[in-house]
């Protein structure tokens, strides 16, 4: 499970690094043009740290290492936000040697709450929560309907994509984009986009491993 978790986190890190330009250009439109650069710097550091982690480091330990690395390397608001999400996820994953859909639900719920606590934000403020929270809800619903893990993740990805579209229709009230007021309309939120990209990478990873297919 340990090497599996490392590979899953690497897939997430790879997608962020590959989408550095996209995230930065989205942020240039309504923010300070650093989301892609910051996130790529953070996840490049994560890649190095998790590869160097002691063999046998458990799921919780790897998630914690990811969170701690993000809070000290990203630099922008996404550092403490995603960092807190991974650290809360680590706490929820403690003692878990494997992950089933129920375990993933618990971990995801803790991560989501971490972002809400840290950002003092809620849905509808043009933030990462507009993708992540509907995605979580779609996942929970799919798991309840006894869909497979990959099917449930696919449902979550769809909901996250709709969430990104929704961010184009609302005004930012949190973060740097809030200075723009109505001029933030029509633009998709970079944080919602990076959340979706991570989720999509995780979903593709699980599909490639033929998990719960």
């Amino acid at each position: 499970m340990s090497s599996f978790t490392v590979a899953a986190l690497e897939a997430v890190a790879d997608t962020i690094v590959q989408n550095k330009e996209l995230l930065t250009s989205l942020d240039a439109a309504i923010g300070d043009a650093d989301h892609g650069i910051n996130m790529a710097r953070g996840f490049e550091a994560v890649r190095v740290k998790i590869r160097a982690a002691a063999p046998g480091t458990d799921i919780s330990g790897l998630l914690k290492l990811t969170g701690m690395t993000l809070i000290s390397t990203v630099g922008g608001a996404s550092g403490p936000l995603y960092g807190t999400a991974f650290m809360r996820a680590a706490a929820a994953a403690q003692g878990k040697a494997t992950l089933d859909p129920d375990g993933i639900t618990q971990i995801w719920s803790a991560a989501l709450q971490g972002i809400k606590d840290r950002g003092k934000a809620s849905r509808g403020e043009k933030t990462m929560l507009d993708a992540m929270e509907p995605a979580y809800e779609a996942f929970v619903e799919a798991v309840k309907a006894e869909k497979s893990l990959v099917e449930s993740l696919d449902a979550a990805c769809e909901a996250a994509k709709e969430g990104i579209e929704y961010t184009k229709t609302i005004i930012a009230t949190k973060g740097r984009a809030s200075y723009l007021g109505e001029r933030s309309l029509g633009h998709q939120d970079p944080g919602a986009t990076s959340s979706y990209l991570m989720l999509a990478a995780l979903t593709e990873f699980c599909r490639s491993q033929q998990l719960g297919a």
């Binding site: 650093d34 910051n38 710097r41 701690m68 809070i71 000290s72 390397t73 990203v74 630099g75 922008g76 608001a77 550092g79 403490p80 936000l81 960092g83 807190t84 650290m87 840290r118 950002g119 973060g175 740097r176």
Partner: protein, 131 residues
């Protein structure tokens, strides 16, 4: 004496504010700059902030001065990773970073308790410059 931590996106800003504030400080007073990222780039680093809080800590506690948006988020995150007994003695000032730091340093230098240093730092919000 209450310790002061200055958190800015820029290492130069944090250092500069510390330098200015030292002019008003007692020699033994702790003022720690926690600006920028380890690699020198612009940003805030919650690990660096938590280390600075530990360095600035005294029995009287620590006031953290912050600049923009993520400085607050990083400081909140730094508090989450600190020991609970340390965390209870830390306050984040909702104040302009430069004026607030000067006010806090002067208030702390006369031995005022934590809440009073916080109030003086936050009082900098109302300070008039051009009368």
């Amino acid at each position: 004496m209450v310790g002061i931590v200055v958190v800015s996106h820029s290492a130069k800003v944090a250092e500069g504010i510390r330098e200015l504030a030292l002019q008003m400080a007692k020699p033994e007073q702790k003022i720690i700059a926690a600006g920028g990222m380890a690699d020198g780039s612009i940003g805030t680093d919650a690990m660096r902030v938590s280390e600075a809080i530990v360095d600035a800590m005294t029995d009287a506690g620590v006031i953290v001065m912050v600049d923009l948006g993520s400085a607050v988020l990083s400081t909140d995150t730094a508090l989450e990773i600190l020991d609970e007994n340390l965390r209870a003695r830390v306050r984040i000032a909702d104040a302009p970073i430069l004026e607030g730091t000067i006010g806090a340093v002067v208030e702390a230098s006369v031995g005022s308790p934590l809440e009073q240093v916080l109030a003086t730092a936050e009082g900098a919000r109302e300070m008039r410059k051009c009368l």
